[in-house]
Amino acid sequence: MPKTKIIEAENLTKVYKGKVKAVDNISFSVEEGEIFGFLGPNGAGKTTTIKMLNTIASITSGKATVAGQDVTKHPAKVRDVIGVVPQELTADDELNGMENILLSARLHHVRGDEAKKRASELLKLVDLDGAAGRRVKTYSGGMRRRLQLAIGLIHTPKILFLDEPTLGLDIQTRTKMWEYMSGLNKDEGLTIFITTHYLEEADGLCNRVAIIDHGVIKVSGSPSQLKERVGGDVLTIELTTGPDITDFLRSIPDVHDVVKTDQSYRIKLPKTEKALPAIVDGVTKKGLEIKEIAFTKPTLDEVFLEVTGKSMRDEDAGESESWVQNIMTERMK
C-alpha cells in the first residue's frame, strides 16, 4: 500500500520584495512517518521553504499542502497539526524550562494536568527533567536546543519541522539530538521535516534527502541512492604544474569521469585500488609532479559537488556579525 503524502509542494516559488528569488519552482513530497531532509548551504532557500510550509511566509507562486491542508487557504488548520523547532534559540531566558514548555502548551491548547504530564514526559525524554526548574539563562546551548525540541512536541504534532536543529552544537550533543529525533520517528511514527547544512546529519538521520542550492532542488532520494549516483570512489590528484592531462586520465581503463579545477583532477572510478597504479604511473611517466593525492568513498558532499559544482564545506563561512547574532552566540554558550 502506498504511503500517504503528508507534505506536498508543487512548483513552489518565493520571491522577496519582487526581486530576490529565495525559492525557485521546487516540487517535492514527504511521506507520512519519514524523516525528510533539506540539505544545502546557508542561503540555499531551506528556511524560506520551511517558513512557507509553516504558514509564516507567503507563497509567490505554486502550491503546498501540509496534512492535506493548503497552507495558503487554511493556515490555521495547518498550525494545529505542526510542531516547529526554529533555528533561533527562542526559549525565554527569564523563565525556567518547565514554564517555557507550559507556556507553549497553553498556546497550543493543551491544558491542566495533561499539559503538566506531557511537559514532564518530554523534559525527561530530552534529559532536562533535572533542570526543569532552572531559568533558561543558565542553560547551555545544547540544553536550549533540547528544550526547544520538547517545546515543539508539547501538543503531539503530526509533523515536526526542525530548522537546523543542531546548529552550533558539539558532536556529542548533536549525536544525542539525532537519537531523540530518530527515537521519536521510530517509536511514535512522527513525520520529521528537517533542514540542515550538516552532511552527517542528512546522511545518518534522513530517510530521504533533497539537495537544495540557490533555491533549486538539484537532486533528491535516499542518502544511499544519492551516493550511488557518484558512481564509486573519487580520487583527487593535484599536480604542481604542467599541461592539461584530462584526456590522458580519461583514457585509463576504469576511469569513469575526470573534472579539472586549476591543477586538481577529480577522477571518478569504481575502485581506487584498481586504477591507482596506472594513474600514478602514467602521470610520473609524463614527467609531472604530484603535489597531493587523496581518495574518498562517496559522501553527500561528493553528491553536492556533483550536482552544484562546488563543495558544501566551502559554503559554510560568513555568519552575520549583527548584535542578534551576538545574542544567539551568547545563548549557545
Binding site: I56, T90, S104, I327
Partner: protein, 279 residues
C-alpha cells in the same frame, strides 16, 4: 483569544518582574522628574524671597490651579510622561521578540493573531500603570511634594487613575502596532522619538497650556496627554470636581479619552494585522 492574550501578557510581565534592572530606571525617571525637575524648574523660585510667601502662593493660585506646591501640580503631568515613555519604549521587547525569532514561534502557533497584538497592548499598559502608582507614591513621600486636599478620597484616586489608564491604553494600542511594524530597534526609536517628544512638549504636563502661544494652545487642547493630565489634575489638585464646579470639564476629558482609546484600538489593530501577515 482571552486565554492566549493572558498567557502572553503573563509571560512578558514575569520576564519584566524577574529582571529588576528594567524597572529601576523607570522609577528613577519618576524620581528625577519630581524631585529634580520639580525643584529646579519650580516657578515659585522666580519670586524673590523679599516678596514673601503670599506672592509665591499667588502664582500657584493663578497659574497652577491653586496647587499647594508645584510638585502637586506636576504629579499628574509626570505620571502622564512616565506612561508615554513606557509606551514608547515598551515596544522594544516586541521588536526583540521578532528579531530573536520568538515572534515566528507565536505565528506558527494556533493562536488568534489578535492575542499577539492585545498581549503587547496589555503588557505595556500593566508595566506603565505599576510605574504610575509608584510615581504617585514617590510624589507623596518626597519633601515639599504632593499635597492632597481633604476632599481627595478613594473616588478621586480611582478617577485620576482611570484617566491615566485610558491614556495608557490608547497610547499602548498605537505604540504596540508601531513596534509590530518596526523591523529594527533603531527604526522604532527614531519613529517613537519623532512622535513622543512633540506630544509631550505640546501638552500641559509640565506647565499650564494657558501660558503657551495661541497656536500651541490649540494643539495642546486636543492632545490626549493634556486631556488625561487635566482630568487627573482636577482631582489631584482640587479634590472632588463637583464641589469645585469642574465636573463638566472632567467628564468631557474622560469622554474624549474613551474616544481616543476606541480610535487608537481600531487603527492599531488594523496596522498590527498588516504587520503580522505572512512575510
Amino acid at each position: 483569544m482571552f486565554d492566549e492574550t493572558l498567557a502572553l501578557t503573563n509571560r512578558a510581565l514575569k520576564k519584566w518582574v524577574r529582571n529588576p534592572f528594567t524597572i529601576i530606571p523607570g522609577l528613577a525617571t519618576s524620581a528625577f522628574y519630581l524631585a529634580l525637575f520639580g525643584n529646579s524648574f519650580n516657578p515659585t523660585n522666580l519670586v524673590p524671597a523679599s516678596a514673601g510667601a503670599a506672592a509665591k502662593s499667588a502664582i500657584l493660585s493663578t497659574t497652577f490651579g491653586g496647587a499647594a506646591t508645584y510638585i502637586t501640580y506636576l504629579t499628574a503631568g509626570v505620571i502622564c510622561l512616565i506612561i508615554v515613555f513606557n509606551m514608547s519604549f515598551g515596544g522594544i521587547d516586541i521588536v526583540l521578540d521578532r528579531q530573536l525569532g520568538y515572534f515566528n514561534t507565536l505565528l506558527t502557533s494556533p493562536i488568534p493573531r489578535a492575542s499577539i497584538y492585545f498581549s503587547g497592548v496589555f503588557q505595556n499598559l500593566a508595566k506603565a500603570m505599576l510605574l504610575a502608582v509608584l510615581t504617585f507614591v514617590i510624589a507623596l513621600i518626597i519633601p515639599d511634594g504632593l499635597k492632597l486636599t481633604s476632599s481627595f478620597g478613594i473616588l478621586e484616586l480611582l478617577g485620576a487613575f482611570a484617566a491615566f489608564t485610558l491614556l495608557g491604553l490608547g497610547l499602548s494600542c498605537i505604540f504596540t502596532s508601531l513596534a509590530l511594524l518596526a523591523r529594527s530597534i533603531d527604526s522604532l526609536i527614531a519613529v517613537v522619538n519623532f512622535i513622543n517628544l512633540p506630544l509631550i512638549f505640546m501638552s500641559s504636563s509640565l506647565f499650564p497650556s494657558s501660558s503657551f502661544p495661541s497656536w500651541l494652545q490649540s494643539v495642546s487642547n486636543v492632545n490626549p496627554i493634556s486631556k488625561a493630565d487635566e482630568a487627573a489634575r482636577i482631582l489631584i489638585v482640587s479634590g472632588n470636581p463637583a464641589a469645585n464646579g469642574m465636573m463638566g470639564t472632567f467628564v468631557g476629558d474622560m469622554l474624549y479619552l474613551v474616544g481616543f482609546v476606541v480610535v487608537m484600538a481600531l487603527l492599531g489593530y488594523w496596522a498590527a494585522a498588516r504587520a503580522m501577515k505572512p512575510e
